[in-house]
Amino acid sequence: MSRSLIVALALLMPLLLAACSDSIGDNPARASSEDDLLVSAAASLTDAFGEMETAFETAKPGVDVLLNLGPSSGLREQILEGAPADVFASANTSNMEQVIEAGEVAGDPEIFVTNVLQIAVPSGNSAGVTGLEDFANEDLLIGLCAEDVPCGDFGRTVLENAGVTPAIDTNEPDVRALLTKIEAGELDAGITYVTDVVSTGGTVEGVDIPDEFNVIADYPIAALVNAPNPDAAAAFLAFVLSAEGQAILNRYGFSSP
């Protein structure tokens, strides 16, 4: 009797595994129906695309936008592995290019916004930071993101472009950790994206970096070949690129291309 139980369990195993992996796996397409529009967007677009969703649904009643937010590289992997999506908005061009190479993009992607780096200082800027040259000041508390995360990589490029050797006091593991310490006034200055500064709602102030030193990130958007809802995808793209869509993005610190 115990043997038949084992056999039964062995037969059930694949089913159990399938059930588990299905519930664990990130499957954003599950809820898709005819009027759903699935938008895979970079995590840095979270707030702006949240508002975009509401505005688009008001302009296009009957379409329900589903936002699938995550790191651009993760979204890219989902698309390449066949998870259906209508629109892909990436925080950099390299992830979009890989999706194009795999033949997943319908038409040409468009750069819909750009994001630039900015010096982030605590509200009030008590240390009087005015530019990149202050990063060499040993008396100030300076933080950057760690060298191997994107914001740390870009931050160092900007300083290098300006010929400044920074007197770094801490290499924070990610941009949130860096912002938290600037927000608390524990650091005098750091380098983040301008949208990160805007997202703090005023507790962190931005000091502009001159264009000749700055790093500009292009955000491309495209409809996908296997879009379950191509009409709505085209309408969403047009809306994002319209004056109304751009105004929303500008409010969150993004620049129009």
Binding site: L141, G143, A146, E147, D148, V149, I168, D169, T170, N171, E172, P173, A177, T180, K181, A184, G185, E186
Partner: protein
């Protein structure tokens, strides 16, 4: 079949279910370690460990964990004594507060330290204005974070030992004319000695492995605040072989200390 074993006999075999579950429990600790060993690039190990990143972090980790243990001994033992020997209202609260760092996510502890002792913190701001001392982003900040997270191990162990101690021994010594300090030095401390050492070892080991509170409160800078756990975290992003090599160093050091000192002292308990 009827059981022919003598009731309560010492030769009775332990229940198989217990052995199986016990081994399963053990595997929770062993499996990740095996995974680490399987990933270790043994032949390149000496080269990987020779870098600045590793030697700086190792030195810093040893210095800060020992400093945190010393501070814990100086203030933690009296605290344990207070909790064990003095009846006061709110003792349950004090006990809860002391235990809190054991269950709190270290990141929360680090953030709390920042708000209290940061440059704009409740204590940190006046302290900075009066003395110019700045704890965040300094090696002292690492020591403070380590102490916060690790001291509970010492306090709880020593408090338990003091409460279990038969106070008649101290009473007898006092009756025989020993002064308060003599009683403490000649009777109390020797009797709780094993627990004291065990608590110190656990405190040191916890401080040696501290990550969350350190990176949140003290930041991450090579040679100043980047301890071994932080170096592992940073290396995971850039060079996994280095990360694995540092992890292995931490495992070897911690395991050696825990086994050597525990075996030697906890047998006495």
């Amino acid at each position: 079949m009827t059981t022919g074993r003598p009731a309560g006999g010492r030769t009775r075999r332990p229940p198989a279910v217990f052995i199986i579950l016990g081994c399963l429990g053990l595997s929770v600790f062993v499996v990740p370690l095996v995974g680490l060993l399987a990933r270790t690039p043994w032949s390149e190990l000496p080269t990987l460990l020779r870098g600045d990143l590793v030697t700086d972090a190792l030195r810093l980790s040893l210095v800060t964990s020992v400093a945190a243990t010393a501070i814990s001994a100086v203030v933690g033992v009296p605290l344990a004594w207070m909790m064990a020997r003095i009846e006061f209202r709110g003792r349950a609260l004090v006990r809860g507060l002391v235990t809190l760092p054991l269950v709190l996510p270290p990141v929360v502890g680090g953030a709390a330290l920042l708000f209290a002792m940061g440059r704009r913190g409740l204590i940190g701001e006046p302290l900075n204005q009066a003395t110019g001392l700045l704890l965040p982003f300094s090696t002292w900040g690492v020591v403070v974070a380590n102490t916060f997270v690790a001291m509970p191990f010492l306090v709880i162990t020593v408090e338990g030992a003091l409460r279990n101690l038969d106070q008649r021994f101290e009473g007898a010594a006092a009756t025989l004319g020993a002064g308060r300090w003599t009683v403490l030095r000649r009777v109390t401390l020797p009797m709780i000695g094993p627990s004291l050492v065990a608590g110190l070892v656990l405190t040191w080991a916890r401080a040696f492995g501290e990550f969350g509170a350190t990176i949140t409160f003290a930041g991450n800078l090579q040679g100043r605040t980047q301890t071994l756990p932080l170096a592992v975290f940073v290396a995971l992003e850039s060079d996994r072989d280095v990360a694995v090599a540092i992890s292995l160093v931490m495992v070897v050091i911690s395991l050696t200390v825990l086994i050597a000192l525990r075996e030697r002292w906890w047998k006495v308990l």
